[in-house]
């Protein structure tokens, strides 16, 4: 499966380049808004559609992320049972080029542990910063602020924010959740190198991760006024056998009244994180 995927890769790339990038650009380039300096103008509110935030690999729908053994087949774990179908995982055909993430055997074992320990380990459950590229396809919008001097992205989820430096700041001085971003234009594609990650963030709710020492190379290419093709190449030889890429379109929210909501979420997880330390805990005998 993986082998055939690799063989298909150049063909797929070629096809994508032809069908998604070159053709729409030639057909619609007049429709791409531009800044005063002539770069594609990405200002606006964007969002990914689909189910990559559940699992970036192809997956069938399943009852829940947290499961427990049942008499016949596994059933949803107690912690999520009362949510019923709201906690069920919708299917997705994946955003990973080639279908599967090329983990090393050790990293794959960690991913599987992450998946089994989802409730304990997923940073999203604790409202931690999402990292890159996860921030892009969280089920929340984000807003790009772009002038010819500066670019920043504010994400609704967790009030995450990135200042994308347009001059190379050199090696990141400290590790961080969102990494250090350096962006430059390659023709009409905005290419952002992101590194300096602390290695704690995940890629989705299915335990996929990148590990410490990761470099992400994002490519934002406007296909028209309301669509961006987003790619993120993931490199980390400690975790993966080769660099690999996710790709998905981003959609502009064209509602003239659209605006980012506020979802700090820190205040929403206090009971989960600190409830047991109340003077009078609400839950009795329940752990985290």
């Amino acid at each position: 499966m993986r082998r055939s995927g690799e063989l298909l890769l150049p063909v797929t790339l070629l096809a994508l380049t032809a069908s998604l990038v070159a053709a729409p650009l030639s057909a619609q380039s007049g429709a791409v808004p531009r800044t005063a300096a002539g770069h594609p103008d990405m200002n606006g509110i964007w969002q990914a559609l689909g189910n990559a935030h559940w699992d970036i690999e192809p997956h069938t729908a399943r009852p829940a992320l947290a499961m427990q053994p049942g008499p016949v087949i596994p059933v949803p774990a107690d912690e999520v049972l009362s949510l019923g179908a709201v906690a069920s995982v919708p299917s997705g055909y994946g955003v990973v080029e080639g279908g599967e993430i090329p983990y090393t055997p050790e990293a794959l074992a960690t991913r599987d542990e992450n998946r089994a320990e989802w409730l304990e380990r997923d940073p999203e459950i604790k409202c931690y910063l999402p990292g890159v590229p996860r921030a892009t396809y969280m089920p929340f919008p984000f807003q790009i602020f772009q002038s010819d001097q500066r670019v920043a992205i504010a994400y609704e989820y967790a009030a995450a924010v990135r200042d994308i430096y347009l001059e190379d700041p050199g090696e990141a001085q400290v590790d961080s959740w969102m990494g250090q971003s350096f962006g430059r234009w390659e023709g009409d594609t905005f290419v952002v190198r992101v590194d300096g990650f602390n290695g704690e963030s995940w890629l989705d709710r299915a335990g996929n991760f990148t590990g410490y020492g990761t470099t992400i190379t994002e490519r934002y290419t406007m296909l028209g006024p309301d669509h961006i093709m987003y790619e993120a190449e993931v490199q980390n030889p400690e975790t993966f056998t080769r660099p690999w890429t996710i790709r998905m379109p981003l959609y502009r929210n064209i509602d003239p009244n659209a605006r980012l909501g506020q979802f700090k979420c820190v205040e929403f997880v206090e009971e989960l994180l600190y409830g047991e330390f109340r003077k009078h805990p609400i839950r009795r005998g329940g752990g985290r």
Partner: protein
């Protein structure tokens, strides 16, 4: 158009101009008198002609929000030199190696006399100057050395509460009295919970916290101004144009902000602040805004390295409005990610400590506190 200048306020401005001229003779001898006008003419501008406010900025300063007793609104160069030297001495002293033979500090720590540093457990070694970047200079605004950031009321202090304000305060205090301060996470300050910065860096108004990270990044487009606050990575998104206000019950932490250009000044008007928001923190003017609060901010780039930031707070909890002036100075450096919540061991341990204390008081099997 927003008109926040009542006749009374214009009168105050006129008096301020007189004060400025008087002070100019003392403190601006070296500054060419045409400097401001000339600087404004050559201000960096965007393609749409608006002044370029973009970049990294800091409002860190030694000048407190509230004017200390016994000083006028403008300090003399001699006063400034003494204050700034005092700060440098304090910092140098803190950088000295500790005496390896010293004993344990007294309970509560060795107080340094700097109330904010002491409150942040500097006296017990919680923070030292390595971590602190409180602002080492007195604020210079329009060439004046300022003794407080509040410029109105004229005494530089928070105005008295109105009857409405007293009522609100009494309600809040009555609510708070149901709890002890360490009972629940919700009883702790917003900063300790990593919800908002201590002080009110995000605001509005955006004020220094007198401790660290008083840094901002501004990105400007014709439709939006984004102001990213380093503390707790709070990001304000200011929409330009005719306000289309959020419904009354939707109250983001930093409110609903709309901006427009008035000449070369960016004017931002904010309503819909969160009911639990706290403003003018790290000062003895701290207050909980009412749902009726309106904050007007004016940002004017006056030269290559300075934005003049004015704010007006109108809230019927007070008998008067509050106006302030704060210089934002260009920051030649990058902002860090302040991932507060992700590393918040303090909140858990503060609560755990309180529970341990209670257990000890119940004579349970908990080691005696030393």
């Amino acid at each position: 158009m927003i008109d926040d200048r009542s006749p009374r306020v214009i009168g105050a401005s006129a008096r301020a101009v007189v004060t400025l001229f008087a002070a100019a003779a003392l403190v601006m001898a070296a500054a060419p008198e045409y400097a401001f006008a000339q600087a404004r003419a050559s201000l960096p501008r965007l393609a749409d002609g608006t002044p370029d406010l973009q970049g990294n900025w800091s409002n860190g300063t030694m000048t407190p929000i509230v004017r200390p007793a016994g000083v006028g609104p403008v300090l003399t160069p001699e006063q400034v030199e003494a204050l700034e030297q005092g700060r440098q001495d304090f910092i140098s002293e803190d950088y000295l190696d500790s005496d390896p033979d010293r004993g344990a500090p007294p309970a509560g720590g060795e107080l340094t006399g700097d109330p904010i540093f002491d409150a942040a457990t500097g006296g017990t070694g919680g923070y030292n100057q390595f971590f602190v970047d409180a602002g080492d200079n007195i604020a210079v605004y329009n060439g004046e050395y300022r003794s407080s950031l509040i410029v109105h009321p004229a005494d530089g202090r928070r105005p008295a509460y109105s009857a409405f304000g007293e009522e609100r305060l009494a309600e809040r205090l009555a609510f708070n009295r149901q709890f002890n301060e360490y009972d629940n996470p919700e009883n702790r300050p917003l900063a300790e919970r990593c919800i908002m910065s201590f002080g009110s860096n995000g605001g509005p108004p955006m004020l220094p916290n007198y401790f660290y990270n008083n840094n901002y990044t501004i990105v400007q487009t014709p439709d939006h101004i984004m102001i990213m606050t380093e503390m707790v990575h709070d990001t304000r998104i200011i929409r330009m144009g005719e306000p289309r206000r959020l419904p009354e019950h939707i109250r983001p932490w930093m409110g609903d902000s709309w901006g427009h250009w008035s000449g070369d000044t960016l004017v931002i008007e904010t309503t819909n602040l969160h009911p639990e928001q706290v403003l003018m923190g790290m000062s003895n003017a701290t207050f909980y805004p009412s749902e009726k609060i309106r904050v007007i901010e004016r940002l004017t780039r006056v030269d290559e390295s300075t934005i003049n930031y004015e704010f007006t707070i109108q809230d019927p909890i007070f008998t008067d409005e509050i106006r302030g002036e704060v210089p934002f100075n260009r920051l030649d450096g990058l902002l860090y990610e302040y991932a507060c919540h992700e590393g918040n061991y303090a909140l858990e341990n503060v609560l755990r400590g309180a529970r341990a204390e209670e257990a000890r008081e119940r004579n349970e099997n908990v080691p005696e506190r030393r």
